[in-house]
Symmetry: C2
Subunit: 526 residues, 2 copies
Amino acid sequence: MSFELRDRDLLGRIGRLRTKGGEVETPAFMPVVNPLLQTLPPRRMRKEFGCDIVITNSYILRRQFGDVPGLEIHGLLDYDGVIMTDSGAYQILVYGSVEVTQPEIIDFQKAIGSDIAVILDIPTGWDVPRSDVEYTVEETLRRAEAAIPLIEGSEALWVGPVQGGRHLDLVARSARLVGELPYDVHALGSPTEVMERYMYPVLVDMAMTAKLNLPTERPLHLFGAGHPMVFAMSVAMGYDLFDSAAYALYAKDDRYMTSRGTTQLQDLQYLPCSCPVCRSHTVEDLKAMPRGERQRSLAEHNLYATVTEMDVVKQAIAEGRLWDLVEARAKGHPQMTSALKRLSAYKEHLERGSHGFKGRGVFYHDYHSLAKPEVTRHARRLIENYGRPEGKTTLLLVPAPPEKPFNTYPGYLRLREGLQPKLCEVHVCFVAAPYGVVPESLAETYPLSQYEVAEPLDHETQMFTVENAVEYVEASGHEKVVLVRGGDPFFDMLEEALRKSMPSLPVLRPENLWERETGEQALRLL
Amino acid sequence: MSFELRDRDLLGRIGRLRTKGGEVETPAFMPVVNPLLQTLPPRRMRKEFGCDIVITNSYILRRQFGDVPGLEIHGLLDYDGVIMTDSGAYQILVYGSVEVTQPEIIDFQKAIGSDIAVILDIPTGWDVPRSDVEYTVEETLRRAEAAIPLIEGSEALWVGPVQGGRHLDLVARSARLVGELPYDVHALGSPTEVMERYMYPVLVDMAMTAKLNLPTERPLHLFGAGHPMVFAMSVAMGYDLFDSAAYALYAKDDRYMTSRGTTQLQDLQYLPCSCPVCRSHTVEDLKAMPRGERQRSLAEHNLYATVTEMDVVKQAIAEGRLWDLVEARAKGHPQMTSALKRLSAYKEHLERGSHGFKGRGVFYHDYHSLAKPEVTRHARRLIENYGRPEGKTTLLLVPAPPEKPFNTYPGYLRLREGLQPKLCEVHVCFVAAPYGVVPESLAETYPLSQYEVAEPLDHETQMFTVENAVEYVEASGHEKVVLVRGGDPFFDMLEEALRKSMPSLPVLRPENLWERETGEQALRLL
């Protein structure tokens, strides 16, 4: 296996990708290196920026140098890390066609010693009629199949791209079929325009559709993604490799990148960064530099911002806090928040990707946090595994005490004493946002013993909690529900929702407005 | 004037504080320098970290050196920036009393040449009975008055502290009365424990109460605030100076600070930072260092993270995006999000602090963005200045077109054509989240022409929009309201809310579910 997973969070993962040119840790950002015009020498990128992998364009190289025998990419770039080469597909997107055949560019990439190489796929592009999209998908698939005999025996890792643009059914087909072929790496083609137009919700649907239809164990590349603002979300969707020339292109336009967005140099009054460029210059220094030097300095800053964000993302995976980071980065632009909402709809998939949790306290900031895998998993397992315990016909719903674990809180212990004689027939659950229902027997397990919710709860979180509770009651088959009425704001909502969803189920509730601690009246209703 | 404001956003500001030891730009973080034990030499702090101001403890100095004639603080610390000295109040908090009188420590601070000096106030502390809190407030006020003749003619700037802890009425009294005395700087005393316990919502109430009761033009210091996570919010509340030893104390406990929170070194697998320490070491390097070296390196990283965040905050002020930053930082901990909600309740005060906007597109991410001054100001001005134009008896509410400015959208222009004959009596407003109502005549003005809202809208934003619209209709005195029914999700809510709030107002709405573009039916209802 060339790809080994070491850690996971959501669909994101930390992995080791072995290539003939060396190992790379993923998620990894590959700066685009223009072989003919180097803003920063690749050797420096590795030494100073920690870039163990770069990408360059084999089509441009071949046009420049032709099929020179002995041409070797690592020597040419003076770079001893891993080199991926693109095939000219981007040039097809921009110019409509290229002066090379797929067998020629595959042979060329083999000859120059690319470590990761790409077939000559046909990018879908943007704003094209569906029939054209269908052509790019089918032709890319045809080429992916045709390439198999050509790449057999090659030492490089080969990339099978996915096309389809915003036509999700075609993305799904493209991913499913190319995933059946023996490629080492997959890639989602040409979302660049989607990103340039800030259409992040569209990107989420494209990226998730590709991801969910590809073999999950293969590394996945997002072509052209290079803004640090989108890394956390893209990694959370299961993408491992990213490439872009944005760090240099933005610098050319005097644009300064941060994980929160982009600022024009002229709008900067401070350098909000601690990278070597920003610590050794004032903003006035930068503005006063001659154009060439300024572009180089901005490119360096942009690359620092880019590679540092990847470390932020990896550390978030290590801590099991990737979703918190995605939430924070979504504040960079309203379209990022829209994308967060879109991604939240895939929460069941995000949960399935999260293999085991890190044992840290889980944070629920607001309704965006409801997509966290911990809460999705709890709701699912509750219904699958913890229905109604044998013999317990009555469900007693107790407001969550103010301290965790709930079952050892003194006020609750007093209620439990009075409950003692009935315990064989009464199933005690706490009603706790955002989980819904927490059975007493699980109150000391992770994450139910260790989480924090921002208060006051927003409407969405209240509704979510009530819905989760109702779903559990629907599935559990209790004969009677008794609510220990408390100050929790959603107890009225809960009662109403239970009566509405199960009109024939007896739902009893004491008159006394607040008797959380002893629950005497509730006990009389049992 | 020793304090000059250069820029503002919310209650936050960028200012220039002139002292006898030099000028300092605010907001500024002052690292606490222990005169007897320097983790980092103050000279290096200035040169490498850009700290133009530090704080040290005059009480400790006096105990160590006594009243040595000629003792001068800048020479002693080998530091040529601005030096603030604390008075021993912190030691009163920790040890209950100090072996110095107020006149003695005031004289000492004058003698050693402090640039900013503090009277000997009595910190309130935490979890103390109200009678004790009252004592600390009254005694601090008494001392503040008694100090006036002692500090008269002093070249230093003098700080008049505010006490009261979480007793907001006492904080208000303390602030109001000390604000009447001729101090140069004010400070909110001892919120340290509140911050250590993550009680950020309490901090917001304390900090806002002090701020709103003090002369706004004087610089304001938040004692003991040194975690980068709280800077954006604290600056947004109008605080200008911050001091803390946290950068060094956290390092002692192997804690690594970022603007998103704190991580134990042992839990770091990556260094999510681009500061000189983190770029020149791997996390394994740091973990393997001898204790002393490790502490020094961590203290350096922590100080870089701290001062860099202050630049992030200042740049956010320059861009008019401080609230976006506050929202992003609130994702660091649920208690920070709770604090954000608490702060949102002060939105009228935040709006009054924001003098003019920066002309950038305004971002509305979710309901947290509803506290932005742009939307508060629009709602207020709409009612104050743009009631019902002369002669226009009918209000026509049109769904906001999908593009801005609303009044030049082709679909709307078609509707307007049909409207032409009635324009003398019809007042046209767009219904647009989150503003509520946008009169046609304002559609091309900032920020109504230039904002973005994340979609789909959350429940809170829908409700807020409807409430703003209803408030306007209540205040405007139209005789009739006609709704041009559209696909906007809140048009049903709006109709219901209008009927509920003004049962006798005719609210007309066409039958046709979707006729946004021509609005023919609506026109017939006019």
